[in-house]
Each structure stands twice: as C-alpha cells, then as structure tokens.
Subunit: 387 residues, 2 copies
C-alpha cells in the first residue's frame, strides 16, 4: 500500500496547485442543483463579497440578474421562484459587479468572446440535445485548402453512425454559424451532433453528413486553434458579410465531395445557417442555383450593407431568385422568432418572395435571436431533408 | 444602414446577457500580458475584494500564490519578479480565498475536475506545442464498441496530414492518459495533435496514427460527453487499475485496425502513457508481448495495489517480461523527472529489468509529475518510433 499511496500523492500533486478550498472541496454533485419540483438552486461561496448575483437566460428579463442571499456563513444562495422549463440554459455569477464562472460546474461553453456555464433541465424539449446511448456519428476536425482565400482552414465534419462500415453515399447538410461564431458554435450551443445522432437513431432524420465550416474568411480557425495567435475573438470580424465567404464557398463543397462519400447532386445537398449564417445561406444558394436542393434560413440577416450592394454576390437578386425558384427547389425554409429584432427584415424578404409567388416554408416561433430557437430549427429542418 | 444596425443589435443581444462591464469591456488583447522582457503582468478587476492572489505553475513553489497589488481603482496587478521561461502555463486567481478564472482569457482547459486558464510564453520549447501553418492531421472523435466492457465508448483518433489522400498504411501510437484524465487529456494539456503535426511537417517523426482512448473502464466518455450524465469527474474512479482496462485493450486495437489503414504488425504498433497510463502500458505490453514493438512509460505508476496482486493481468511478471524482452522489442522507453514522487518506484522497476539485463532506454529529466514533462516525453518518444 505504501507505494500506491505514493502514486495517489504524486497524482494529487498535479491537482493540488489550483484545487478548491473550503466549501468547494470534495463537491462532486452537479451544480446548480435541480430540485424535485424543477426549481433550481444556485450556490456561490464568497464570504468577503458585498453582493453576489446570478445571471442567465433561465431568468426572465425582469428578474435578471437575481440577487443572491448570504446565509451568514459566506455561502450565497438563490432558488428560482418557479419551476424552470426543460431547456439548456447558460448562467454566470456576478460578485461585486464582477462576472465569474461557477467553480463547481465544468460544463462551460464559449460563445464568441465569452465563456458561459451551462445546465440542462431534462425533459422532452432536451431529449435530443443530450448525449444518449445510441449509435454515434464521428466528428472529424479537418483542415482543408481554400484556393480562393489562399488559406488552410479548419472545419468540423459530422459523419453519421455507420458511415465507416458502409460504402453508401450520404447527402450533406452544410450548417453555418452566426456573426462572431466559428466552426465550433453548432457543436456546443447548437448540439448539432447530439440532435443528428438522436434523430437518426429514432429514424426521424435521414443519415446525413453535416459540415460545419468557419464562416469568417479572415480566420483560419477558431480562436484557440488559429495559427495566427490566441487573441480574443472579435464580434464583428472583417470580411464576414462582404461577399468573400459566399464567393469562396465552393472550396468547401469541393473538398467535402472529394474526401467523403457524398451524393453529388442537388437533391443530396442542403445549406442552412443562423443569423449571419442565414444571410450566407440566402446568397450562396441564390448565386449557385444548381447546388442546393434544400435551403434553411434560421433567423436570417437579410440586408446587405450599403457599401457592398454592388458586389456581384449581392446584385441582381430578382434575377437570381427567378433562376433559383424557377428550378422548384424541394425546400426553402425560413424560421424566425416573434421577438427577433430581425423579424421585420425577414418580413420584407417574405414580401419579396410572395410578390413573385415563390414557394417557401415559413416557420414562426416564440422567442428572439437566441440558440434556444436555432436548436429547435435544426431539429425541425433536419427531419424534412433528403426525403 | 438602418437594417444592418438592426442586425448588429440583434446579434449583440445574444452577447449582452453575460457581457463584461467596466474595466473588462472592449478588451481584446490576450491576458495575461507578456512584456518585452518576458516578465508577465496579471490584472484582475475587483474593487470590493480584500485580497486578490494569482496562482499557477509559472510561480515557484515558494512564490505560490502571489499577492496582487490594488492600484487604488479596483484593478489588482502582479508582475513576475523575473522573466518567465518559454512554456505553457496554467493559472487562476484567488479572490478573497475563492478561486476564479480570468474573465479575459478564454484559453481554458479542463484537467480532471478543474478548469485552468492557460497562457504560452513562446520560444523554442513551445514551438511544437502551438498551432502552426503546417499540414494538419485530422482529429476523429469516434465511438467504438467494447465487447469486453459491454459499452459504446468514445475515443479520439489522430490521422496524419495526407491520410485522406493516400492508400498508404500507417503505424499507430496508442497514447494513454493518467488517473482522472480521459480521452481529451492528451489533446489539451498534452498538445498531442500540435506536437505530431509539427514533428511530421519537419520530417522529425514518421507520419503515424495516434489513438487516444478513455482509460477509465467505468466511463463511456469524458464527463460532458457521457450519456450517463454530467457529474463532476472523480479523481479516483472505479476499475482504473484493477486489470479491467488492460484486459479490454484489444477491443481498441481491433476497432482501430478494422477502421483505419494501419500497419498490422508489431513493428507498426506503439503503446505509451503517462502515470496511470504508463502503468497500463507496462502491463498491457507485457501481457501481449506480440502486440507492441514500441513501449513508452512516461512517469509511470508501477506498483499494483495489494488487492489486485492476484489478478491474471498483474501476476507472473517475471515470466511475462522474459517473453516480452526475449523477443527483443525495438524500443522500451522509460522517462521520469528527478522530483517525481514516483521516482523510487521507477528505480525499483529499473532494478528488476537490469537484474535480467533487459534492454530499455532510460530518460531522466528535471521536473516532477507534471504535463511539462509529459509533453517533452511525447516529443522525444514520437521521434524515435517506427524507424
């Protein structure tokens, strides 16, 4: 036993450096605590703090941030006033006006330039967002050459369960992130791998490849994977909505069709994206009317900035739509939440499409410009693809 | 412009929820700040705090944690007393005895049950740890069936640059993590993908596949990817050093050899691991003397717990070594730091091997039971494989 004790000592040393003290020590239960009545209790230990608040999308706008109560021993607590609906939520603490993460929750996602703690209230809504004991697809993190951008760039390609053991060709969904996001966005907040794994396992979606590229042409890869350094990601990056990404998009489809067993025809290709990715999907699909049979615009940005209006990618949209819709694409899908600040832009897009009697599916939901909506849109959109 | 402003507003909304205030707003430079003389300055904004400290492995044991100085405006600062040697370092802040992460550094890795901020002092030492503009391998996050464990389990398989475009068969390095780690450990702290990308690009390592399984047989996958839930990972998990993993290891090699183009012979297989993974490598290679031509024990645990001494995996080691070394394996490599608490255990292992004149390579370095050593061992070990 002496020697085994030495091992445990050795291993503990690596941990000891930044280990937790006091109340946090030896805690192994998930935080926050989801109570049997589905209220949620948050606890933060900060004996010296004047105020501790908890902030997050589980609170209504009016409740945000919620002041926590010091129990007298330095442990601050807050329990939600009512049960929390099943969903994935993000939160953080604010200690004396300073945002901090929960030291007892390693479930941390990066969204653009911020880290968020995450918790799940399990229920019907989240069933497809969780990792389940079903056959899983493979996530391939690959680097491809973009001749147009003269760069090696990183993207993630999901191949469905069974891909490795078959000779079958699969249809492909190209799935684009929003402004400030990158090739990891749909995997963390978007739960794309879990949604596809679960829907395919249930027979509700066709087995498909899902390609998640980086839609910021100034970046080779997500911040911490970028050979250009470790700077914080900026929200509004150069070249994001100036036609560059749209014009280079065939570099991505070419790479995918060369390196994966894909159905190389229009009926085997879908393109969808959220917000800026919806903008990209709108203009890419219109510029290449023979490429994508299925198009999904999730809370899309629509309006081109004045300075780029003459870019060939954004010009002559009436002609381009005429060509695109004239070929009767099997699906042109638009989803948006009632409270989305882009609602009016989408309404004006619909007006244009309606004026020419172009056929599209319109899906209006509750909610705003948030991942809650985009996960639902992916879940719904992916089920009607490639039928 | 009005509509584009609406888009920016919409997108900003998603960010606003947990956005930073005050001093932190609009900061996009990497933190901490590496000064021209290679001293490092840390800044933490906490106007209400009584004490703020910074802790991390860039400090010597005596300096740890370092008290920061309040500049009077609530910004706490600390600059290292001397230049910091090129390496990858981890740190965190301690605010009134409470560990918190740096809100301005999204470079966060999980090691076992703790999150750490990371920074790099670039230099010769770190050249192979950084993402460089060289041809990159693909990281395949796959789920395989383990018939022995009756589980679907997750692992990461690195295929070298060029794998997709060739018909060549590649040798395979199986690379095992330590206690409390999982299939992600070698990727984050271990920089395995960067080290292999860079060494292969420089012609210093043979192109090889690197397989990083999860060595905890009670787990299907790393904590946040585990279908069994989102509990905090425990340091000492069940079944980690009781023979279970070693006995099930052929499930992994079988999967890899079925699904990847591999050199299916002893001279095309290497097995290495750190700490508990060194323990696994020691016993797996001895139990299957025809499987691995190359074995690497990085700061290995050696001693079997008393209660498992009679397990067939751990019994009759003299006979097993006789068979293993009798076949003249091309490389049996042992690396350990002079200050490692397992140093004596490794010395006793060497004494046994020496007594029977078994040939091995011994690499003694500065340092203790830390990732700093294991990255160096991987860098050195991978260059002498498959020659």
């Amino acid at each position: 036993m002496r020697r085994f004790a030495a091992l445990i000592l050795a291993l503990s040393l690596c941990l000891g450096l930044n280990a937790q003290k006091g109340w946090y020590r030896d805690k192994t239960d998930p935080q926050p605590v989801i109570n049997p009545d589905r209220t949620v209790t948050f606890r933060y230990y900060a004996p010296g703090a004047d105020t501790v608040e908890v902030n997050g999308d589980f609170l209504s706008g009016k409740e945000r941030p919620a002041l926590m109560k010091n129990n007298g021993n330095g442990l601050w607590e807050y329990t939600t006033a009512s049960p929390v609906q099943p969903e994935i939520y993000t939160y953080s603490y604010i200690v004396d006006n300073q945002k901090v993460l929960d030291p007892l929750n390693m479930f941390v996602w990066r969204n653009i330039s911020d880290l968020y703690n995450v918790f799940i209230i399990p229920g019907e809504r989240t069933e497809n967002y969780q990792v389940r004991d079903v056959p899983h697809g493979t996530l391939n993190t690959v680097w491809y050459r973009s001749p147009s951008l003269q760069m090696n760039r990183r993207m993630v390609v999901y191949t469905p369960a069974g891909y490795e053991n078959s000779r079958r060709k699969y249809p492909v969904l190209y799935l684009l992130h929003g402004m400030g996001g990158d090739e990891t966005a749909w995997l963390d907040f978007g739960r794309a791998a879990q949604i596809l794994d679960n829907l395919i396992a249930q027979g509700k979606a066709q087995p498909m490849i899902v390609v998640m590229p980086n839609g910021n042409p100034s970046q080779k890869a997500a911040p911490l994977e970028n050979p250009d350094g470790y700077n914080l990601p900026l929200f509004y990056l150069p070249k994001t909505m100036d036609g560059t990404f749209e014009a280079s998009f065939k570099d991505i489809t070419s790479y995918v069709e060369k390196n994966y067993r894909t159905v190389r025809k229009k009926s085997g290709r879908a393109l969808a994206g959220l917000s800026m990715g919806g903008f990209h999907s709108l203009y890419i699909s219109a510029n290449y009317p023979d490429l994508f049979g299925y198009v999904g615009l999730f809370s899309p940005a629509v309006t081109v900035q004045e300075e780029y209006k003459d870019n060939p990618i954004y010009r002559d949209m009436d002609l381009k739509w005429k060509a695109q819709f004239g070929k009767n694409p099997p699906l042109y899908w638009i989803g948006i939440g009632k409270d989305d600040p882009l609602y009016e832009d989408v309404a004006s897009l619909r007006k244009k499409l309606d004026a020419d009697s172009y056929r599209y599916t319109y899906h209006e939901t509750e909610g705003s410009h948030v991942w809650t909506c985009w996960r639902i849109y992916l879940e719904e959109f992916s089920q009607i693809l490639f039928r």
